[in-house]
Amino acid sequence: MRARATTRYAALFGASVLALTGCFAGPPRAPVADVGAEPEFSGTLSVLTKFAGDPLSPYFEDLAAAYERQHPGVEVELIQETDQSIKDKAKTLTASNALPDIYFTWTGNWAENFIRGGRAADLTEVIGPGTTWGKTFSKSSLSAFAHQGKYYGIPLYNNGKFMGYNKAAFSDAGVEVPATFDELIDSCPDLREAGYEPITFGNKDGWPALHYLQQLFAYNVPAAVREADNHPETATFEDPGYLTALRQFKTLVDSCTDTRGGTNGVLYTSAQEAFARGKAAMYYQEILEFDSTTSGGSLKPKDLGIIPLPAPRGAKGDPKVIEGAPEGYVVNARSPRAALAVDFMKFVTGPKNAATLSSPPYGQPSTVVGAVTPNTSSKAVFEGIKKVNGAPGLVGWLDMVTAPEVADAWLAGGEALISGGMSPEKVLESVRRASESAR
């Protein structure tokens, strides 16, 4: 009797499994968004931003309130997340087919996933290079969200990674600002002697190490090789420049940070804090951080200098390329309010709001042409954007340009390299394996 009941329950369980595995068949086939239609100013518009927390959260809150005042029938519902939490949020909403009307995206593999999966609306007719709206953006920022000749993204701000240095610290130590990677390493003992941590660095989250690595890869590995290695189908990771870059990174960590092998135990924000308090001479940071590091700490804006991470002499890659990428927003391809979403984003990227975004306390250099000027932005942000715009090319974030399994191998490898748990050769081997399994 009991055995029969067990069989019955097992059969029921098995049938449920088989039935349920067929229940999740991707995005619902709603009508494709008509982005060029006349917007209907009513209903709730949902927006997933990456601006949670101070000082950024008021930016979208103020814009939403202003837009609602202009269009009383519209309610803007903001879902504000941090740089870290938005990764989970976006994937959860994607998996449950609950993406909002407008949502944040990075460039590279991250954006392409949404585009290939039919989750991002084709905005070519409203934001393409020849359109009125498209002409307001810098060409490079627009093309960063292009895929197979179509334009999917609304670039909001540009970003690049620079070695920020404390001018007073260099002056105290009597050290020249380094022009090459060797000079950077050589400057560290003198800076330490003068009472500063030469380079403050926190790698608890893993990705800060990838920022160093990607810039060093760009210096040491030819662009065409790197591009091929970003895609598991064509990747080999055979170029000797990778090992050179990994060794250079290890040298930098061991010679120039006070935490050396323990750097994985330090938060990125703790490192930022150490630089802002004038305890450290250098800190590798994004343009988006310039205004944070000079607000409220002992480091004054006039004391902040920026240089690209110094390139090694005679490196085989491109010594002029800068790591960075614009970040922006896409419109949900299945949104019934796509035209309203486009209108809202036109409002967000209008000249006045673009200038506000580029100014302190936000300090996010807008991609709108003319928004970043010496009058609207801090000196460092303006200088950083000028360098980014003047660079012959940008290299995207390592964990965004490649397949997720490969990015994860780089994350673990970077941590292991810092702690001494893996040699550069072993790190590269683990990345090769991950790339092969991602084919």
Binding site: A95, R116, K204
Partner: protein, 297 residues
Amino acid sequence: MLVRTMCRRALGLAWVIPALVMLAVFVYLPLVQNFGFSTLTWDIYSGDQEYVGLENYRRLFDDPVFWSSFANNLWYAVLSIVFQVFGALLLAALVESVRRERWQRALRAVYFIPAAISLTVAGLLFYFVYEPNIGLLNHVLDAIGLREFAQPWLGQESTAMFAVIAMSQWQGFGYCTLLFAVAIQRIPAELYEAAALDGVGPVRRFFQVTLPLVREMTGLMVMVTVSGAFQVFNEVMVMTSGGPNNSTQVLGTWLYRNGFVRNDFGSAAAIGTVLFVITLTIAMAQLWITRRKRVEW
């Protein structure tokens, strides 16, 4: 008579149906769904799914990080039994042997305070205790002349997992102590008095009176602790996110990383199923132990 009985049963059933529906929808259906997902490769962006049978499980069992995560859960379980069960039992016996009730109450409160702190807050707190630059632990070691023992506790593979486990023990220790204290209070005082009259010392009293009479609670605590050790997630996420180099991954965080970092939701679901089987086995064992004959006095 029969009709009345049937009506009464039907009425009883009507009362429990809402709870059964809630259970089915929110507990059992997701379990079945999760097993379904574990047999698929699933692109969350396009929604494309492919049935791969048990391939995700095969890949999982070939994955060295899965096994190191499992080993970390085992370390958690073993060390939790040592500290949170046997350590807490010893401490509870000591606290209960204090004669003044006011002191007893004060001590219980002191030991229980960490349990009142959320795991996330405790994790953040200990992150700053372990921080290599400004951390309290290294400063204390420095102050007492043990500078050579200062470490980047969470920053290196050799110490990170144990640093996280130590925080968990600190957080859970007081709660277990309190439960044991309650169990010890239920032991009739006459037994201790009789033992004292027979000239039995405190150590023998502990082994011959206390230990046998809190056996039931000890069994329960072992099960709860082991089960909890396999469900660890928060403290690892807050303190190390599974790093450095995956050295502090446990099954819960490895599940998360497979799903949300590597976009491999099939493997994540497979880990979920393995976790379910482990915790279900522990729960069954717990049920079996608690159904055994109680100690009577």
